[in-house]
Amino acid sequence: MIQIKNLHKSYPIGKDSLHVLKGIDLHIKEGEFVSIMGSSGSGKSTLLNIVGLLDGHDEGDYYLDGQLIENLDEKKAAILRNKFLGFVFQSFNLISYKTALENVALPLYYKGMNRKERLKIAMEYLDKVELKDWANHLPSELSGGQKQRVAIARALVTNPKVVLADEPTGALDSTTSNSVMDLLKGINDEGMTVFVITHEEEIAALTDRIVRLKDGVIISDEVTLKKAKAV
């Protein structure tokens, strides 16, 4: 699903440049539940941004669903994001003046679906995250856990190939964190590829495969005990 070969990325800082990713090789197959672990500054967010087509890379190859990603302009990137990717952010990133239902339906709007149909589908996904009763509430009326569940519903609504979660539990307490991770696990069980970025060991431990990143290189890539046992 995601294949990365010798990926490099640097950011210019004044006259110098900061080399953030120093040759990453990573292959994530369809249906995997992977976490990228690393402390801040390890390059994990940069990796997610590149994988999520929110940012370009300098060197190396990146294949998304077998398609080589290169020379993307904003328009093409937008189409690919809409088609292949679902995002879950640490700070939820819901649009404050839209209701939960409208937030979930937004990606379908950019897909070009008509209003009636997209609201119907959005409602199905809200139901899936058990927030059907909150459909007409604004984000400000929801708790953190509820907001993140709305965000997850929004990430899933286009039926993407990969769900990218950037510190999805970073702003939540541990109980809510667990329920959010359960939700992601459930999605993965249905066959969705889920890609989580975190700096918390406990969260990473809930996934099937942990890739550890340090100073822009992968230092370990292991299947968790849980997964190993299951196999």
Binding site: L54, N93, I95
Partner: protein, 410 residues
Amino acid sequence: MFDLDRWREIFQSINKNRLRSVMSGFTVAFAILLFTLLFGVVNGLSNSFKGAFVDDAQNVMFVRVWKTSKPYKGMQKDRRIQLKNEDLDFVKNTYEDKIQHLTARVYKNVSISYKTKQDNYSLRAVHPDHQFLEKTIMDEGRYINERDIRNKSKVLVIGRLVKEDIFGEKPALGKRVNVSGISYKIVGIFSDAGGDNEERLTYMPITTAQMLYGNNDYISQINIGYNPKLSLNEAVAFGNKIERDLRKKLDIHPDDQSALSVRNMAELNKNVGVLMLTLYFIVLFIGSGTLIAGIIGISNIMIFVIKERTKEFGIRKALGAQPASIIGMVVQESVLITTIAGYLGLSLGTYILSLIGDSWEKDYFIKDPSVSQGIVIGATIVLITSGLIAGYVPAKRAAKIKPIEALRAD
């Protein structure tokens, strides 16, 4: 362009951010309101000026005489100047090619009586050309003609109100009336756009008046209708030349305005034209200034709005919004606000102007202030364009920001 979902997005965005929408709208509405009012008032002034001159022909000058105010060629000041038939002939022969109509006037106050009715009226004894210079409209009968002049006929052309006073509803044409003891036949009844005073006048052939009242060749005033082919400047020069020549002929000091003066409508028209042009320029300057201020205002607000919404745009982009859709959304919102607000300002302006209507005519010399269709359309185009620009420039920049930077914004 008509995308229901897009409009829904825009209305939601405007509705959820009412304050900023109203704020940006207000700037534009106010600018357009001021613009409309200014233009309307100047149009009203212009209407008044035009109205003031409909009475008489535009290409006229009047030669008038009084007493000298300066001694000249050994003669004392305070000498009374009298125009005579020879002066009229002099004007006629000297400037033949530059003159379209020419008439002299003799003023008299007379008492007109018919059966038991009697009243006093102003009388003008004139040449036939007077009709064209005064724009006299014949309701019945005819005006003074050349034969009347030759025969010194005892005929009268009376104003509509004179006829009403003396004859009421009964026919007056062909009747004989008594003017200060002499019997005259009424050959015509006229009306005049100049108002009641002009319709309470009576005309008779100038030769008749000269013979019967004093038996001399005196005239009170010469009215000249210059050739309309003359440009304003040529007409002004022509007036000055007549003034100089007549002063010379009548032995008047060249600068003696009091003894002989030529009141030239060309000069007046020229001055009014220059005044109106200046006013229009001032209004155009102030008006476009206000409009530009309004446009800058809305641009500033749009920049602020877009900064505020950068994160939202980042989210939208992450969810699959293409840059064009973001730009389109912002521009459409901006155009919508400017157009609606502009139209509110415009309507309010025209409404206020219509309320003023003619009520300011007496006190402020402003008649029927209004803005023309062209101005309205022009202002609307300016509004939509400014809305486009005000939205497009910052939106383009916002759409260029990478989604990840946009998401980081707060």
